[in-house]
Every structure is written in structure tokens, then in C-alpha cells.
């Protein structure tokens, strides 16, 4: 391409211009004289951030957290976290004259008598939904692309803690308005606590300041919600970001993008502008949702009354999956020596979430134990190139999804006109069988995609051009993919050869799995991890395939009248299949 680059705009000038500092420079000098920031800033102002749409997911989580802080501070100016009883005299007709807690009354006041109050309440709640959802999708992105591998395991752990704390923060938040729905949630939480062996009823009485519901739970949850958890979240987010900056962002393999470098736009100005602009977009979308989409209309539920409940009572969606476990668990209790152990509550709601969270935390460590891979990784893997890992997460997602669906078994029964009993029986089996099926399908699917990549590399892509041979046979013409695409497809490590472990450290620097305790299990898992994976072709294989294609083309050419056309295309390595 010939472009007259003499006209290139000044913004793209790359020459280092030495001149007297402008106004920004003067401010920077003033600050550096006092803070000495220049040493730290000289590298970081132009720090490189690689670009990919999926790197935006964590950003959504970060920005929605900022929106949560801003809207949350606004709400605290009116919300009164007290369970003191008052008679409602605000402008919402349907509840006027009714006795309720001050917490609920001030939620109504925020919704009806403070301008912009309902907007802020709904923005706060929508931002919470988006915060948790984007953390989950960000977690999936990280895992599916292998970004949790060394040296980023600790950032994975921090991320998991953020998800756990975010969920608790959400629960404490939607419990505060003290409406009928949230009160029902707190009551269920009381039942959960009481199911714990030995300490259960004590924990309940301490938390509620006596017998349920008491008058302490809302003020206590308020402190947890506006001080304790946000403080922890802020600290962990800061650590998460610092580690991100220290490790530098991962990037996708491609021409010029290797394990040793990071290619992208500098923080100042492009990345700062894109990320900063994106904050306003996230904020703006949340504002539109808060204004246009009703969420948690607490005025319709009425004040909490421990003798009432609404049909279709459900927690916020992120608490749905343990609720589903609770619903499909058979009613088992053990009565022994004057004590009762409620397996039907304790297992699904106390043990299961703890177990799932532990599994999540350990995923990077278990993987590196199985593979023996202790190298640093900065290039991302496509999900298909780690079939067993991808299948593991899809199995976990299937478990989560089925549990979540079970948490809405009453809604599903009504919407689809099905028997709630049969849905529940089905789910009791499906949560065990579904993940296994999902694992097998995903793994084979990934391997098929790997085969497709190999096919494209060795034999070219399908052009859609149908050729007829002199014998009358028809075949589709294949053409080789571009060099940069071929490079991108092959820029991945070969998996270790699991069939023949010979030395303690193989060519790729991986430890021999046959050492240490549990070596048999480790070897079997390692075989499962890599078995049937398609390896990228070697240089020889590629050359052989291309030679074969050349030969085919020559062969055709000899028999063709349009010799000229064929030989011209030959330079582009036509495939003759």
C-alpha cells in the first residue's frame, strides 16, 4: 500500500521531541520535587496493555464496583438501618398507616419521596447484579484461556475471594430493606445456621441478638454491608490490580507476540482513554437500567411479617444455586443421643458451597500438580487446546446451571406446565449425570476443533471452488491459510508425551510425574489430561503436506490445457483435494 505518510497527523509522530515542559510538565515537576514520582512513573505511564474484547470483562466488574460505591454512599444518606417500629405516613397509598420497621419505611421514602432515590436504589441493585455476573464471566475467561497458570495463581485466589465476598455483600445488601421477600431470606438463613452441628443455635442467637427475628440483625448486616465487606473488597481489588500490573497482562499468540514480550497500546493515552471512557459507558448503561428496568420493587412485597410469605420466593440469582441444592436434597435427619443433625439443610447449604469454593480455589494448583508444569505462561491458550481443562470447567458450569435451574423448579413447573415433583426427581439425578455428559462432550468437541485446525494447517482452507478432474471427478479446492494465521495456529507448545515418561524433566521442562507419592494417580490423571489431544504439526509434517499439495497440483497441471493458470496458482500452494 502506498500512502503519503508525510500527511500523517501529528498524533502519530514518533520522534522524541525535546522541548521545554508545558503546563502539564510544570505540574509534574512540582509534584516530583515533593513526591519523587518520576522514577515510578517513567515506565508506567507508557505501560503496554494488550487489546482483546475478553479483557474487558474484568473491567466491567471493576467499574460496576465503583458505581456501587457511589450509589451506595447516596443511599446511606437516607436509609435508616433500624428495626424500630413506625407507622408509615409517606406518599405510597397502599401502605399508608401500616406498621413497619424504620429500615423498610426509609426504603419506601427513598423510593417515593426522594427525587432520584428510586433511580439510585435500582442502579445500586443492577450494579450489584452486573458486578457479580461480570466477575463470574471474567473468571470463566481466565480459566478457559489458561490465564490462571503460573505466575498468576495467587491472583486467581484473590479473584475467587472477591467473588465470594461479592456474593456475601449482595446477600447482606438485599436483606437490608426488611421487606417480606428479604425477611424470608433472612429467616431461611436462620434455619441454615441452626442446622450446623453443636454451634448452630448459638450462632443464630448471637447473630440475631436473641431469638429470631430480634431487633439487631438489620443494623448488624448494615455494618457488614457498608464497612466490613466493602473494605475487604477494596483491599483485595487493589491487590488484584497491583498483581496485574506487576505480572503484565497476558496476550494471545500471534505474529510478533511471544512469551517474552507484551504488545499493545500504551497506558497514556490510548489505554487510559479506552478504560476511562469504558467506565462512563458501564456507568451510563447502569443508569439506563436503573431508570428503565424495575428491580426489587420492595413496595409490592410489603413489610416483613414472620407469619407471611409470598409464592415464588427466590433469592437474587447468584444465591440461586445453593437454594436449588436445598430444594432437591431429600429430607434426611439423624436423631442421636438427644441431638438432631439436619443433613437436609447442612449438606446443601453449608457444606456444598464451601466445597465448591474450595474446588474453585484449588483449580490452578491441581492442574499444575497433574501436569507438572512449573513454567511461567504469558501466552493465552485457546480453550480447544486444553480439552480436559475446558471440559472440567464446562462440567462445573453444568453442575452450577442445573442447581440454579433447580432453584427455580417452582417457576419452571408453572411456566412449562410440568410437575414440580418430577422436575425435582429429574434434577436429583441430573446434577450428577449432567456434568459427566458435559465433560465427555466438551472434551471430544475440543479435540474435534483441534483436528479441524490441523486440517486447515496441512491441507488449507475450503475455498468453495469446485474443480472437475479430467476423469470427471469433482473435488473442492483448498488454499493455504495466510502465513500469520498459520503461525498463530501453530504457536503453541506440544503436550508432553504421556505414553513414555523417560527422564525426570522432559524437553519442555516438565517434571516427570512418576516421582513422589500418589504417582500412580498423577500419571493416570496426566494421561487423561493429554490423551487424544492433537499436537501442532512439526516443520517436517507441514513441509511434507505442502509438498504433497504441490505434487498434486503438478499432476493436475500435466493433464490440463490451462497449464498457465495452474502454475501461477502453484506459488500459493493449492491443495488438490
Amino acid at each position: 500500500m502506498s500512502i503519503d505518510t508525510s500527511k500523517v497527523a501529528t498524533s502519530n509522530s514518533s520522534a522524541a521531541i525535546a522541548k521545554k515542559p508545558g503546563r502539564a510538565g510544570a505540574v509534574a515537576e512540582w509534584a516530583d520535587d515533593r513526591l519523587g514520582l518520576a522514577t515510578a512513573m517513567k515506565k508506567n505511564l507508557r505501560k503496554v496493555f494488550p487489546d482483546h474484547w475478553s479483557f474487558m470483562l474484568g473491567e466491567i466488574a471493576l467499574w460496576s464496583f465503583v458505581v456501587l460505591l457511589l450509589s451506595g454512599v447516596f443511599l446511606t444518606l437516607w436509609f435508616n438501618p433500624s428495626m424500630g417500629e413506625v407507622q408509615y405516613n409517606g406518599s405510597y397509598d397502599a401502605l399508608r398507616g401500616i406498621h413497619m420497621s424504620e429500615a423498610y419505611a426509609s426504603s419506601l421514602k427513598l423510593s417515593f419521596d426522594v427525587r432520584g432515590g428510586l433511580l439510585m436504589r435500582q442502579m445500586h441493585h443492577w450494579a450489584a447484579m452486573i458486578f457479580i455476573a461480570s466477575m463470574m464471566i471474567h473468571l470463566l475467561r481466565v480459566y478457559f484461556t489458561g490465564a490462571h497458570r503460573k505466575p498468576r495463581e495467587l491472583n486467581w485466589v484473590i479473584g475467587c475471594l472477591l467473588l465470594l465476598l461479592g456474593t456475601l455483600e449482595g446477600f447482606t445488601g438485599y436483606s437490608l430493606p426488611d421487606d417480606l421477600l428479604s425477611g424470608t431470606g433472612i429467616r431461611a438463613a436462620d434455619g441454615f445456621m441452626k442446622s450446623m452441628p453443636v454451634v448452630g443455635s448459638y450462632m443464630s442467637f448471637f447473630l440475631f441478638g436473641g431469638e429470631f427475628p430480634g431487633e439487631s440483625i438489620i443494623p448488624r448486616l448494615y455494618t457488614v454491608h457498608v464497612l466490613l465487606i466493602p473494605g475487604l473488597l477494596l483491599a483485595l481489588i487493589a491487590a488484584h490490580m497491583l498483581l496485574l500490573v506487576y505480572h503484565k497482562h497476558t496476550q494471545w499468540a500471534g505474529p510478533g507476540r511471544t512469551e517474552e514480550n507484551v504488545v499493545g497500546f500504551p497506558m497514556l493515552p490510548v489505554y487510559a482513554a479506552k478504560a476511562g471512557g469504558f467506565f462512563f459507558i458501564v456507568f451510563g448503561v447502569i443508569a439506563l437500567m436503573g431508570g428503565l428496568l424495575t428491580l426489587n420493587p420492595v413496595w409490592l412485597y410489603g413489610p416483613y411479617d414472620p407469619s407471611k410469605v409470598t409464592a415464588g420466593s427466590q433469592p437474587d440469582w447468584y444465591m440461586g444455586w445453593p437454594d436449588g441444592a436445598l430444594r432437591i436434597m431429600p429430607g434426611l435427619e439423624t436423631h442421636l443421643f438427644g441431638h438432631t443433625l439436619s443433613w437436609n439443610v447442612f449438606l446443601p447449604i453449608i457444606v456444598l458451597p464451601g466445597l465448591m469454593f474450595t474446588i474453585l480455589l484449588l483449580l490452578p494448583f491441581v492442574e499444575s500438580w497433574i501436569t507438572g508444569d512449573k513454567r511461567d505462561h504469558h501466552l493465552l491458550q485457546r480453550p480447544r487446546n486444553a480439552p480436559t481443562r475446558t471440559a472440567t470447567m464446562v462440567a462445573l458450569m453444568t453442575f452450577y446451571g442445573l442447581m440454579w435451574a433447580a432453584g427455580g423448579n417452582d417457576i419452571i413447573a408453572i411456566l412449562l406446565d410440568l410437575s414440580i415433583n418430577q422436575i425435582t426427581y429429574f434434577m436429583r439425578v441430573a446434577v450428577f449425570v449432567g456434568p459427566v455428559i458435559a465433560f465427555i462432550i466438551t472434551r471430544r468437541w475440543c479435540i474435534s476443533l483441534q483436528r479441524k485446525d490441523e486440517e486447515v494447517l496441512l491441507h488449507g482452507y475450503e475455498t468453495g471452488v469446485i474443480m472437475r478432474s479430467p476423469e470427471g471427478g469433482y473435488s473442492e479446492r483448498h488454499l493455504p491459510v495466510s502465513e500469520s494465521r498459520a503461525y498463530t495456529l501453530t504457536a503453541r507448545d506440544r503436550d508432553p508425551d504421556v505414553t513414555a515418561p523417560e527422564s525426570t524433566v522432559d524437553a519442555n521442562g516438565l517434571e516427570d510425574p512418576s516421582s513422589g507419592r500418589l504417582s500412580g494417580l498423577r500419571q493416570r490423571l496426566r494421561t487423561l489430561m493429554y490423551a487424544d489431544n492433537v499436537q501442532p504439526p512439526t516443520r517436517q509434517e507441514l513441509e511434507a503436506a505442502h509438498h504433497h499439495a504441490d505434487h498434486d497440483a503438478d499432476h493436475h497441471a500435466d493433464h490440463h490445457a490451462d497449464h498457465e493458470l495452474e502454475s501461477r496458482d502453484r506459488d500459493a500452494l493449492p491443495g488438490g483435494h
Partner: protein
Amino acid sequence: MTDSHDTLPVPADRPIDDPGLPEHAWRPTDVDPAAEKRAERQVAGLFGLSMVCAVLFVVAYFSLDIGDNHTTFLGMGASTLALGAALGGTLLFFGIGIIQWARKLMGDHEIIEMRHPARSSDEDRAATLEALNLGLEESGIGRRKLVLFGIGGAGFFMLAPAVVLLRDLGPTPNQVAESGVEGAGLERTIWTKGMRVVRDVVGTPIRPADVEIGDLFNAEPAAIFEVDEEGHPLIEGVELQVAKSKGAVVLIRMDPEDNNPGPGRENWDVDGILCYSKICTHVGCPISLNERKTHHLLCPCHQSTFDLADAAKVVFGPAARPLPQLPLAVDEEGYLVAQSDFTEPVGPSYWERDSQADTSKIPGEGDSA
């Protein structure tokens, strides 16, 4: 850099050589002054729209009603709708403007930075390790076992004040049960012998004749509606909430032919009218979804289903115990009353619950029941 750990691993031989970064492609705004000018106007225009929306926000704030007129537009708060749309516009146009600026006008040369391993260099590691060892050595912690045990023990004991301080968060279950307040504690409710069963919202007593076969009443103990001479409720606030959270019941009249009372509970109904705790034995939701034909009662929270004609036994779902039954009688004026409190704890199970002690024996009746 003699040690291989100081550098990132050299990648295994790739079958295709790295063609290197593709050449930078100039954007229209880089080479065409007209396009550049147009992009600049676009960006400024977006910032302008953001300003307009901010003004609209202020206008909407002061001109649109809230309070009594909150549902003036499609049933939504017009104020909330307008404020949300205007605020959304303010922020979105601003954000899109900045990103457009970055994409069209800012330099778009990708630059390359080299990575360094996360670990420190071997020299730094050795120096740090040396300093660490020296520090530990000088402290003598390795040699002085007594000090080591001392500091460990003291550190552990330091947890005691932190834990003990939380003790007064609430009374223990036993303290509540022995507080003397009527119906306090996990094992008792406010129901007593002779207390009327009243309608849950209005508090009026119920005659057996008021209840048709298949009817389900949500009912409460009369105590929570009682007032003193000046009309002030006797029970209010927390005490009221606690009383309701354990005392709520459902009344249902069963065709006597359908009903299969539990052992020892043959005299707990009044003309087929049965009374059960409304609090689910699973995690404590109030239950009230009644299926008239099957006399099944379903909990809306987790779908535990109880058969009211069979001593409220669990027929489906995660609950493990039947709903406790309240023995009924009729007082001199012909209204339904309780024969006693529940004979077992209501609500979810808990560790100290002695389920083998559940009984159908009404206290104070001797062995005749």
C-alpha cells in the same frame, strides 16, 4: 544472566517462523485531514450531547413530580425514568466520546514491552535469604525453644479476648428459654391452654361452624392482638415478631373420613378441624399453599409438601419432620382454643433438639391422654 531462571523460557521450536508484527496500517484520520476534522467534530459533538443530557437531568429533577404522582408514565415513575435516561445519556455520550477520540485521533502505534520473570534475580534472592537468616539468627528464635513456645502460646491466647468480646452479641438459647418471657426459647411458643385461635389479620375468634370442609384459615394466637384498657397492644415490637414467628398456624377442616390422626392425637381436632404450625420444619418459611383436593400443604420456599390428613407428614421435598400439631378444643363461648402449647418445638431442626422426646402427650393431662 547465567542462570536460566533469570530469563523467560525460550519457546520450543515452532513449526513456522514468527513473521513478526504486521506493518502498521494508517487510518483514514491519519492521512486525510478532512476525515481527521470530521472525527474531531464527532468527538466534540458527543461531548456536547453529554452536556445536553446533563442539563435535561437537572430540568427533569426540578420539573417532574414524585410522591403521590409516581406512576404517571406507563405505570413507571416519570421522574425516575427521565432522570435515569438523562443520566445514562450524560455518561454514555461522554464515555463514547472519549473512546471515539482514542480510536480515531490518538496515536495507534502498538508498542512492545519485554516481560521479566515474576521472580527476583538470583543475587537478590541470595541477599534476601541471607538477610532473613541473619535476622532470624540474631533473634535466636531457632535456639531458644522456650521463647518460641512462649510467643506461639501468647499469640494463640491473644485470640481469647477477641472471641470473648463477641460473647454479648446475644443471649444463649438457654438464657432466652429461662428468661421468664411467655413462650420464649426454641422449645416453646406463646400458645397456652385456652388461648383462642384467631384470624391472622383482623384478630377475630373463630367458631367451628365458620370453617367449611376443605377451608384453610391462616390464624394466630389471640395473645398477639390483646390490648390494655387504653387500646395499646400488650405485645409489640420484637416480642410481637418473635411470637408471630413461632405461633403462626393454619386451620383446616377435614372430612372426618379422610383424616388419619396421629397416635395419641385422636382428640386434638374439633369436628374435623385441625390446627398445624405454619412454620416449615425445613428452614422456617411460613407455609400456606394449600391444595384443597389432596389436602397437601406446600412450602413456597423449597416445596416441602405435608399431608394435612395424615398428621402433616412430609410427602415430598427436603423437610424431614411433620408439621407440629396444635391440640384444639372449644371454649365456653364456642370459639376455637388451644388445649396447650405445641408438644414439640416448631420450625427448623437444631443441634440441641431432642427429636426422640417428641410426644403427643398434652402436659398437665396426666396419663389419660
